[in-house]
C-alpha cells in the first residue's frame, strides 16, 4: 500500500522533509505511548509539522488507523515512493508561486503518474515558458528558445517596423 501525495508535496525534497517531520512525530508519539503505558507524568510538546504532513497523516490515519505502527508504515510507504516514483524537473523563468506549482503538479499527477515528483528550478534567462526534463529528454518550451528559433522572423518583423 502506497500513500497518495497531496499537491503541497511536489518534490523529493518536500517529501524528504515531510518524512523527517513524520519521523519526529512518530518518535514523539512512541515516547508518549510508552510514558502513558508506564504511567509517567508529564507530556512533551507536540512537534510542529507542516500542513502537508498534517494532511498526509490525517488521510493515512483515516484508512490505516491512528497508531505508531501505522505511522511507521506511512513513513516506509513514503520512502518507497521516493525510491520508485518518477521525477521530472520543471525550470521556470522565476520562482514559481505556490498556486502555480500546485496546479502544475496536480496536472502531472493526474495525467502522467499519481506519485510523480516534480522538482522546480528557475532560470531568469528563459524569459518565460518552461524547460521540462523528463527521463532522458529535455523539452525546451521557453520564450528564449522561441526567440532563438525564430530569430530571422524576429529580425524581419523588426525590419518591417
Amino acid at each position: 500500500m502506497n500513500a497518495s501525495l497531496p499537491p503541497q508535496i511536489v518534490s523529493a525534497q518536500d517529501l524528504t522533509v515531510v518524512i523527517h517531520e513524520l519521523a519526529d512525530y512518530t518518535s514523539w508519539a512512541t515516547h508518549e505511548t510508552i510514558k502513558r503505558r508506564v504511567g509517567v507524568a508529564g507530556r512533551q510538546e507536540v512537534p510542529v509539522i507542516s500542513p502537508a504532513a498534517t494532511e498526509l497523516l490525517s488521510t493515512w490515519a483515516k484508512e490505516h488507523g491512528n497508531s505508531v505502527e501505522s505511522y511507521r508504515q506511512l513513513i516506509e510507504s513514503l520512502e518507497r515512493v521516493i525510491a520508485s516514483s518518477p521525477t521530472i524537473t520543471i525550470t521556470l523563468a522565476g520562482p514559481a508561486p505556490q498556486a502555480v506549482r500546485e496546479h502544475l503538479v496536480s496536472w502531472c499527477r493526474k495525467n502522467l503518474s499519481a506519485n510523480v515528483l516534480v522538482t522546480f528550478a528557475f532560470n531568469r534567462t528563459l524569459l518565460g515558458g518552461m524547460v521540462v526534463r523528463a527521463g532522458s529528454r529535455i523539452f525546451d518550451w521557453s520564450l528564449r528558445r522561441r526567440l532563438m528559433d525564430h530569430g530571422r522572423e524576429f529580425t524581419e518583423v523588426l525590419a518591417r517596423v
Binding site: 520508485s84 516514483s85 518518477p86 521525477t87 521530472i88 521556470l92 523563468a93 522565476g94 514559481a96 508561486p97 498556486a99 502555480v100 496546479h103 502544475l104 496536472w107 502531472c108 495525467n111 502522467l112 503518474s113 510523480v116 531568469r124 534567462t125 524569459l127 518565460g128 515558458g129 518552461m130 521540462v132 523528463a134 527521463g135 532522458s136 529528454r137 523539452f139 518550451w141 520564450l143 528564449r144 526567440l147 532563438m148 530569430g151 530571422r152 524576429f154 529580425t155 523588426l158
Partner: protein, 221 residues
Amino acid sequence: MDWMQIFLLLNVFVLGGAVFVAIEHVWLHFHPREEIDPAQPSGVHLPMAVKERLLRVAETDYEKVLEDSVGDFHGELEGTTKEINTQLSKLSDDIIAEEMDRYKKTLDELRGQAEQARSGAQSEIEKHQLELEALITERQKALETKFVERHTALEQQAEAEILTMKQSYVDRIDKRLADAVTSFLSETLQYNADLGAQESYLLSELEKHKSELINEVSDER
C-alpha cells in the same frame, strides 16, 4: 655516228691510200722488176751506151715522177692536214659550242629545277606558314575560349562566395540582433516574469506534449 666521225673516217681512209701508194713506189724503186713484154721479142740487144742513157733517162724520169709524186703527196698531205685542222677546229668549235649549248641547257635546266625547287620550297613554306597561322589562330581561339570559360567560372565562383559571405554576414547580423534583443528582453523581464499569467500557457504546453511526457515518465518508472 654523226657526220663528223664519218668525215674523220673518210680522211683516215684517204690518208691510208696515199701512204700505201708511197710505200709501193719506194718498194718498186729499191726492188726493180723486169717487165717482159710478150709482144716484143726478147732477143733485141741494145748497145751499152744506149742502155746506160736509157737507164739514166729512166732514173731521171723516175726520180722526177717520184719527186712529183712526193710533192703532190706533200701538197695533198698539207691540204689534208689543213683541211683536217680546219675540220678539227670547226669540230672543236662545234663541240665546244654544242657543249656550251648543252652546258647552258643543263644550266638552264638546273636553274629551272632550282627555281622550281625554290618555288616548291617557297610554296611549302607559305603552306606551312599558313598552317602555322591557322594553328596559331586555332590555339588563340582555344585559349580565348578557355580564358572566357575560366573567367566565367571565376566570376560565378566569386559571386557565389560573395553571396555566401553576404548571407553569412546577414545571418551573423540577424543572430547578433536576435541575441541583443534577447539580452534586452532578458534584462528587462528578469524581475518581471509574471508566471501567474503564464500558467495557462504552461498547462497548454504540457497538454500539447502529454503523450511524449507519459512515454518518458513510463520509461523512467
